[in-house]
Amino acid sequence: MLTTGSLQSRKRLKDKAYQPDLPKQTLSEVFPKTASDTASTGFVLAQLARADAPILWIQDRLSRKEAGEPYLAGIGTARPIIMVDLSRAADVLWAMEDGLRCKALGAVIGEIWGDPPVLDFTATKRLAMRSEASNVPCWLMRRAASPNLSAARERWRVASLPAARDPHDPQSPGLPRWALDLFRSRHSKPGQWVATYDRASDRLDLVATVRDGTLATDHGAAMQRTAG
């Protein structure tokens, strides 16, 4: 059930950076629901501010094998990507920290598989403080991981939902929809949303869900409410 009060229609998360009371760029963690769920990648890319600064994208070996490599033809060539292919989680953390020293980057995205011992509270705290010091957004994608102790300022769970209806072809999936769950946040209130992403206009529409999540049964309603 949707209530009008909880409906936060067309709130753009990426405008946060321009609101004076909110902090600047920081470390956020994303937990995909399954290893091969690409909704998290789409969500992270949608969250980045539109600019032509390069992205530093660091993957460890298992993430590369299990979730695939970023595909430039799908992401778009608007901004250059510097890929760093590593094998160990400690190296990924080192490279992320080193990248966060460089203010010329648009974002640092790291992918770490599982719960390696080096990725503890101290490591995430270092990343968060470096990210805030250099004002470069840092995203940590953690697959097959448990959301244990971490200093990330925002922690998301992202899963794919059945896509919105394609107006031209009822058989085919339309705009992608994601279930977003901000389960820990330092600066804003945690919540759950259903997001519809339109890549052509780079627009993320959020609809708050109630806790029992009956929304998943009729996925067309959210879009109609949002549009109306």
Partner: protein, 495 residues
């Protein structure tokens, strides 16, 4: 010829000396003779003649192919090898070396003794050589080829020694030599005796190769012809000599880097590679190389590149000399990106890429680019990061996944119609039911690249029961005559 002989000896199928052998190269009218061995020369075979003509003279002639490029490379190596006698050496034509031995002959006990030493060393290499010492390039060229054996020619007797040589010794083209011989000028001395004015009038418009006057001036030293040695650029190198052997170069590196960068800055240059060499007390050396992605002369940055690599140095029993040499030296083009002279973002980016490549290796740090192709995996190319390659924007109107698997993963499918999408498939041991799909998008093999028999692909965008969107393709068609039943693969995932 001798290089060929040695190669054959190494392969243990060298022919005996009494068989006439020639090396042939391609000519305008069939192969011509490049070089001949002694037996062939005795049979009357000259270099430059056509092979068919020489076969008529000597029926048992054996012809082999001449490796002209290999000869040239070998001669280039010999140029560097000849640096043992003097620092300035250069290749001269296809079969000569010029050594500027001014000031270095006394090290070998005079010029005559030096020539003997050179000939000995060269014969140890299996190379016969004709050597001469002369004050000019031209005179040495003529004396080595047409003069007496191991001729030593001083400043004042150039005229007399050159005078008896034939005009071929003036490094002239064949036509000019023929012309001079027709004019009755058989020797260089005869050319010298001709009044200068008439020679100048006759050859006023001739280029250097056809101008006997200019060549004569060069040989007599009236016209300068310097030896432009290879690698004449000064080496940018700093070193620190230690009082006693140490095992760890770390405390000396910052000073070395600073001194080197000072030299670079004074020259207005930067380097792209650094070679660190330590000279060990047990008579061995150890190397370490680092490279940068952009020209730099920042000592802090260069020092940082060595940070985790110093362990690769094998110190042995310690070393007492450290040298740091810059190579890949280019001019620095500094830009001020902001009016207030603040930090340069591009600089920081290149330094970041350098640090990452220094730690993880250059193959780990790449930049994806788009290539012109229709096959999805061929579209994605990788180049070295910040390589500055202009983007080829492939105009793909079709939707492409955000992530692509490096190797497509085969799945087992259940389908309703052979040409349609699957109803259900098993991927990574999980069953996915197809809720919605779009496609197929047919991508044919690139016949100009692929092997014959490569099957086409039909791509489907599938949404499973959980809402995950997967890019799936069927390789081939039923009954297309290219193998059995088509197979299905998962190739990527959409957001």
């Amino acid at each position: 010829m001798e290089r060929w002989q040695r190669t054959m000896e190494r392969q243990c199928n060298a022919p005996p000396d009494n068989i006439p052998i020639v090396l042939a190269r391609g000519g305008h009218h069939g192969p011509v003779i490049h070089a001949a061995n002694r037996a062939a020369r005795l049979a009357g075979i000259n270099a430059g003649a056509r092979v068919v003509d020489m076969r008529a003279i000597c029926s048992e002639l054996r012809v082999e192919h001449a490796d002209i490029a290999g000869d040239r490379a070998a001669l280039d190596r010999l140029v560097l090898w000849a640096r043992r006698w003097c620092p300035w050496t250069v290749r001269d034509g296809a079969n000569g070396l010029i050594l500027d031995t001014a000031g270095s002959d006394h090290l070998f006990g005079g010029e005559a003794a030096m020539l003997v030493a050179m000939e000995t060393q060269l014969s140890l290499l299996g190379i016969s050589a004709r050597i001469a010492v002369a004050p000019t390039w031209g005179a040495a060229w003529a004396l080595a080829r047409f003069g007496p054996v191991r001729c030593v020619c001083m400043e004042d007797d150039v005229r007399t020694k050159l005078g008896v040589l034939p005009v071929t010794g003036l490094r002239l083209g064949n036509e000019t030599v023929l012309l001079l011989q027709r004019l009755g000028l058989k020797t260089i001395g005869a050319v010298m005796d001709v009044p200068r004015l008439s020679l100048a009038r006759r050859f006023v418009r001739a280029p250097l190769e056809a101008n006997p006057l200019l060549r004569l001036d060069q040989a007599m030293g009236k016209l300068a012809e310097p030896v432009a040695s290879l690698e004449a650029r000064p080496r940018l190198r700093v070193q620190s000599r230690l009082a006693e052997p140490i095992f760890d170069p770390t405390p000396h590196l910052p000073e070395l880097c600073e001194n080197l960068c000072q030299m670079l800055t004074q020259a207005g240059q930067g380097c792209r590679r650094l070679h660190l060499t330590v000279y060990r007390t047990d008579g061995d050396v150890s190397h370490l190389d680092v490279a940068t992605s952009a020209v730099t002369c920042d000592p802090q940055h260069l020092h940082g590149l060595f940070r985790d690599k110093l362990e690769q140095i094998n110190p042995g029993f310690g070393f007492d000399l450290i040298t740091l040499e810059a190579s890949g030296v280019e001019d620095m083009h500094d830009h001020q990106s902001r009016l207030d002279g603040g930090s340069d973002d591009d600089l920081h980016l290149t330094q970041l890429v350098d640090r990452l490549s220094a730690k993880f290796g250059p193959r780990a740090v790449t930049q994806p680019i788009l290539r012109q192709s229709h096959i999805p995996e061929r579209v994605a190319g990788r180049v070295a990061a910040l390589d500055g390659i202009t983007k080829i924007v492939a105009s793909s109107v079709k939707e492409r996944p955000l992530r692509l698997f490096n190797h497509p993963e085969e799945v087992r499918v259940l389908y309703e119609v052979p040409e349609g999408p699957p109803a259900q498939f098993v991927w990574r041991r999980q069953t996915h039911r197809v809720a919605r799909y779009s496609g197929p998008e047919r991508i044919a093999p690139e016949w100009w690249k692929d092997r014959p028999g490569t099957r086409l692909r039909d791509y489907f965008k599938i949404e499973n029961q959980l809402g995950q969107r997967i890019w799936l393709y069927r390789e081939g068609l039923h009954e297309d005559g290219r193998g059995g039943d088509p197979r299905w693969f998962v190739h990527g995932c959409f957001a």
